[in-house]
């Protein structure tokens, strides 16, 4: 029964990502699900509110492809390289017709929004933003008075996405999902979301999950679909599976700076392929990114 959840990316996106949705593809540098972003572009989704701490290359591509109505974020750049030029073109010297709406926080603010969403609280308090222009730029940053100390604390509103897409190293067929390395804010984003698509490097038997329950980050009960998509996070990385394709990140600076070049990229690598397998067939360099082995020390769960 539970294995009804295992499906192709095409089907998962068709069923669970709709025009107008608030979509979160999370992952801090690590485990960013480019495979899902590409499929959303291919299926021509429109009017999406894209939310994510670091929009990264995948949201730059989705903005360029016309999927986004609004971006909710805290750091919009090409990490370690430079700019997201499709994003910048949509914002700089903004004309009425260009309108990509933005809603901007700091990382802590975005993390707090997901934490509130995951706990189903309407807001989250944080000690922040005094002496900054961020609350002027974003009136959704407010304050609350502590009932014990009388102190004013900043607040951010809960973020409850329509759908969150999490890439992970492994899950079972029901969607019990394990991640390691940088785990960012994925747990909070998933629990905050109405629907969750889990995309994994490996589908594993339930017994593997059960052998190490403290490693489980997302439980099956909140998962709508499980997609098995090896290398699905390329050009980002998956700890224990493959390294970051830094050359791609560096090359993106020139690709995204030129709208025609960016369009050619989308034509070749997104619209021009039917699925992730075809994309990978065009990326022979990935074999040299395969991870070396650095296994953890085990722990005993017996009693």
């Amino acid at each position: 029964m539970a294995s009804d959840k295992v499906m192709a990316m095409r089907d998962a996106v068709a069923r669970f990502v709709h025009d107008g949705d608030t979509v979160v593809i999370e992952g801090f540098t690590h485990l960013i699900c480019f495979a899902a972003g590409h499929e959303i572009i291919r299926q021509g989704r429109r009017d999406l509110t894209l939310a994510r701490l670091t929009p990264d290359l995948i949201y730059d591509q989705m903005i360029a492809a016309g999927c986004a109505r609004k971006l909710v974020f805290s750091w919009a750049g090409n990490p370690g390289v430079g700019s997201l030029h499709a994003f910048r073109r949509a914002i700089e010297g903004r004309r009425a017709e260009a309108a990509l709406e933005i809603e901007e926080y700091s990382h802590f603010g975005m993390v707090a929004r997901f934490a509130a969403g995951a706990a189903r609280l309407p807001f989250w308090p944080l000690r922040n933003y005094m002496g900054t222009d961020l609350p002027r730029a974003n009136p959704r940053i407010k304050t609350v008075t502590c009932p014990y100390t009388g102190e004013a604390l900043a607040t951010v509103p809960a973020l409850n996405p329509s759908v969150t897409i999490v890439h992970a190293q492994r899950a079972d067929a029901a969607g019990n999902t394990q991640m390691w390395g940088l785990v960012g804010v994925q747990k909070e984003a998933a629990f905050a979301s109405q629907r969750v698509i889990v995309v994994v490097e490996e589908l594993v038997p339930e017994e593997v999950i059960r052998s190490d329950p403290n490693r489980t980050v997302i439980p099956s009960m909140i998962v709508s679909a499980v997609v098995v998509e090896p290398w699905g996070a390329h050009p980002s990385y998956a700890q224990g599976y493959y390294d970051r394709d830094n050359d791609f990140y560096v090359a993106w600076e020139n690709v995204s700076r030129d709208p025609d070049h960016l369009k050619r990229y989308l034509d070749d690598f997104v619209y021009g392929v039917p699925d992730r397998a075809a994309y990978l067939a065009k990326q022979p360099q990935v074999t040299r990114l395969k991870a070396k082995e650095r296994w953890c020390a085990g722990v005993n769960y017996g009693y």
């Binding site: 805290s74 750091w75 901007e104 802590f108 222009d133």
Partner: protein, 253 residues
């Protein structure tokens, strides 16, 4: 700059590390006078021992062999807001008279000339780290009297001090540039000239700063990188010159 920044770190301190020059400075300090420096990256890696120069703040090399990896809710709540971070490193497109930093926009927020990446974790680092160090190349565009947008707070905002605004940390104690070191003045809150690199004059520094720069009574002579610092930087931390090359357009490292 990396060597000068590294000297600001004391052994055993807990440092919130950004990528690029801060990462280089922190690892230089670990390789020289501060072997017990504890490095925390906003990505969640604590006590990282990267076997290569990390290309981003979320590089897998920061994870492998680190002491702890935690979620970002813990990074910001349990480490930063908790007051556990002693030093935060910040950079910025603009730094102003009071050490306010702008990494958000050049021009008006609603119709920017240049859209910069935004805060990331910088706003909260500037609020909470017990002290922050700013690193930036000295030039008038980067050091206006007043930033276009305050992303990360310095010593004064609309005339109010950090204490009046309720900020726990001491704010930017130093700005380390490629020509001089500025310090936050305890009374005025202004960034004032505190030290000069070898061969740099006060006038040269003033020419790179958009406000009348006050100065300490005695200016420190900033020592050039020692042989040991250069050896660690060039042979151990950045043997391929990935980072130092970019920075080495005639300026002191």
């Amino acid at each position: 700059m990396a060597a000068v920044a590294a000297r600001e770190l004391r052994d055993g301190e807990v440092v919130f590390v950004g990528i690029g020059l801060p990462n280089l400075a922190c690892n230089l300090a670990r390789g020289t006078h501060a072997p017990r420096l504890a490095l925390i990256y906003e990505s969640g890696a604590v006590g990282a021992v990267p076997e290569r120069l990390p290309v981003s703040i979320g590089d897998p090399a920061l994870v492998t062999g680190s002491l702890m990896v935690c979620g970002m809710a813990d990074v910001f709540q349990l480490f930063l807001q908790n007051g556990r971070i002693e030093v935060g490193f910040l950079g910025g497109a603009q730094v102003d008279r009071y050490g306010n930093i702008n990494t958000t926009v050049i021009g008006p927020y609603d119709r920017p000339t240049v859209r910069l990446p935004g805060s990331g974790g910088a706003a909260e680092i500037a609020v909470h780290a017990r002290r922050t160090l700013i690193v930036a190349q000295l030039n008038p565009r980067a050091f206006p009297e007043r930033v276009n947008f305050v992303t990360s707070p310095g010593h004064r905002y609309a005339g109010r001090t950090r204490r009046e605004l309720g900020m726990p940390g001491a704010g930017p104690v130093k700005v380390i540039t490629d020509k001089a070191v500025l310090e936050g003045d305890e009374v005025s809150g202004e960034m004032v000239l505190a030290g000069l690199y070898p061969g740099v004059t006060v006038d040269e520094v003033q020419a790179g700063v958009g406000w009348p720069l006050a100065r300490r009574e005695r200016l420190e002579a900033v020592a050039p990188p020692t042989a040991t610092e250069l050896r660690v930087l060039r042979n151990v931390l950045d043997p391929k010159g990935l980072f130092l090359k970019k920075q080495s357009d005639g300026k002191t490292e």
